[in-house]
């Protein structure tokens, strides 16, 4: 009986692994076929040598960094305050943060275009820099569900109220409490949210395309429409970036400060 259940467990595991790995292997194998009759990394070389790859990738990385900063500045104090003083509002805030999963990015970006056009009171779209700012804001909204969940889960693992009171009675103000006590104790959760945000921003197409910004997402789409082997190489590169982010989360979580209430 035990032997049998083990067999089925391994079978399910094997089928699941094959389901995920085979398309990836096929894509990887196809990406190596650029040179006729032999395997080569020509497609990868071609991608990395393309100046548009470097420009768009760098642009997306910079936008991702700003998105993460905006997300942290917005979400950490909000989630902290909700937990500390307004726990009744938590379901409402959770609902709001989940809205970007329900409302398509295209709706959000059209809203932005109507709201912040050249003739509006806040003409973000009148300049390239303004559009970049709007894109960062838009991405922060798209990443909100992931960032909020991650930070809120992190806050759940510490005794927010007592730590806040302990810091307050020692003379600390709100900025010191958030910067020196709360943020370092939820850093891993913040990093998880940050890397998820990074992964979203790197591949995002709709907003960048409709706001006409030179981001990595539209570049991927453009290459996919016009080349044969490079899109496969880019797909593998994108996977590598995402996996790299996930691995970083795992590695950094080993260095998390351990709570007095949860030793080891």
């Amino acid at each position: 009986m035990k032997q049998g259940s083990r067999f089925w467990a391994w079978l399910v595991f094997g089928v699941g692994t094959a389901y995920f790995i085979l398309p990836l292997l096929a894509t990887f194998e196809f990406s190596l076929r650029k040179r006729r009759g032999e395997y080569s990394f020509d497609a990868y070389r071609s991608v990395f040598e393309d100046p548009n790859f470097q420009t768009t990738f760098t642009y997306s990385v910079v936008v991702a960094v700003f998105t993460i900063l905006l997300g942290v500045l917005l979400v950490v104090p909000t989630a902290y305050w909700i937990r500390l003083r307004l726990p009744n509002l938590r379901p409402v805030v959770e609902f709001i943060t989940l809205l970007p999963l329900v409302i398509p990015a295209i709706v959000i970006v059209f809203g932005y275009i109507r709201m912040f056009g050249s003739n509006s009171a806040l003409p973000f779209l009148a300049t390239a820099r303004g559009t970049d700012v709007l894109l960062v804001i838009g991405y922060a909204v798209l990443a909100l569900p992931y960032m909020y969940r991650a930070v809120d889960t992190g806050l759940r693992t510490i005794d927010v109220r007592t730590l806040t009171e302990a810091a307050q009675i020692l003379g600390a103000g709100w900025t010191t409490i958030i910067a020196r006590i709360i943020l370092p104790n939820v850093l891993i959760a913040v990093l998880s949210g940050a890397f998820l945000s990074f992964a979203i921003v790197i591949g995002e197409f709709t907003m960048a395309s409709l706001l006409n910004r030179p981001a990595f997402g539209p570049y991927l789409q453009n290459i996919g429409a016009n080349s044969a082997y490079e899109p496969s190489a880019l797909a593998i590169i994108s996977f590598a970036i995402t996996w790299g982010c996930m691995s970083l989360i795992q590695i950094l979580s080993r260095f998390a400060p351990r709570s007095a209430n949860r030793p080891n």
Partner: protein, 354 residues
Amino acid sequence: MAEPFLSIQQVRKSFGATTVVQDFNLDVEPGEFVSFLGPSGCGKTTVLRMVAGFEEPSAGKIVVAGKDITRLKPNQRNVGMVFQAYALFPNLTVAQNIGFGLKVAGMPKADADRRVAEMLDLIKLPQMGDRYPYQLSGGQQQRIALARAIAPKPKLLLLDEPLSALDAKVRVSLREEIRSIQKKLGITTIFVTHDQEEALSISDRIAVMYGGKAEQVGTPFEIYNRPATKFVANFVGTLNVLEGTVTDAASGKVRVNAQEVSLKGKLNGSKSGDTLSLALRPEAISLGRHPGRDSSLSGEIAEVHFLGSVIRVRVGIGGSTVSLDTFNSPATPPPAVGEKAEISFSSGDMLVLH
């Protein structure tokens, strides 16, 4: 009495329609160690949190060293506090935890380091500066929390059930350590606890609280031996309560289970025919007649518990049962259940509860 260092005046706290603290008054002298003792929900922690500034009183005033601090924020009060759950910052080392308040106050690093070392010596953990809280035992963490609270030299030290999360042995040693450090520094301290032994053993005075009010404020000796109310008498220590009826108010005669006891001068205006609750501590009662004990009651041995050095005997007297402890003596066998017995006591030790 000298000018009080801490004065809590007519303080009330309501959450919506519920009043959790009502008309609380207390004056604490400089360097005094006062315990708030009471059952869960009696308002003792709420009063402490109002002194700390975490709760704002609905009415009343809190004055420290002549300054009204009622509306001041917690970080402006210069008060130290130790929490039940330690509340050490998990991301900081022991030294950084102790130095946190000093850094926030802007103390130069060299001075702060010196003060941290001084605090580590004071709590007898000089080698622990580089450790993280999760690497310490509960008792060690609470000592660090104490050091952190007193490092910035606060005017007042507040201890919110700091020993509740610790095991019995550590609790006893740490409470003695807290008291000795408090005496050494002469810091005015408020200690919240629901453990009467803790409060009796280390306090200068105790405020016994019930239903949001201070039922009695007094020294441990007064609280234990002269409880002002029925609640204090029942809550502090073990108490035998007997119902009695005043038969002759003028001569102080009271009938207890068809037997007469003389309580001259203790009836406090009770009239003949009034029913009274009479209380006796177990240690004030002896089995059998003893010289100097002017009152006695007869009954029957109901239970005998052999506890080693002490034998706890419960004697049934009419419808009531009285507990008393006698020392174990190898030469004298313990009384048997069902035996007739007489208990004696001094009428002066009997408390009339109102």
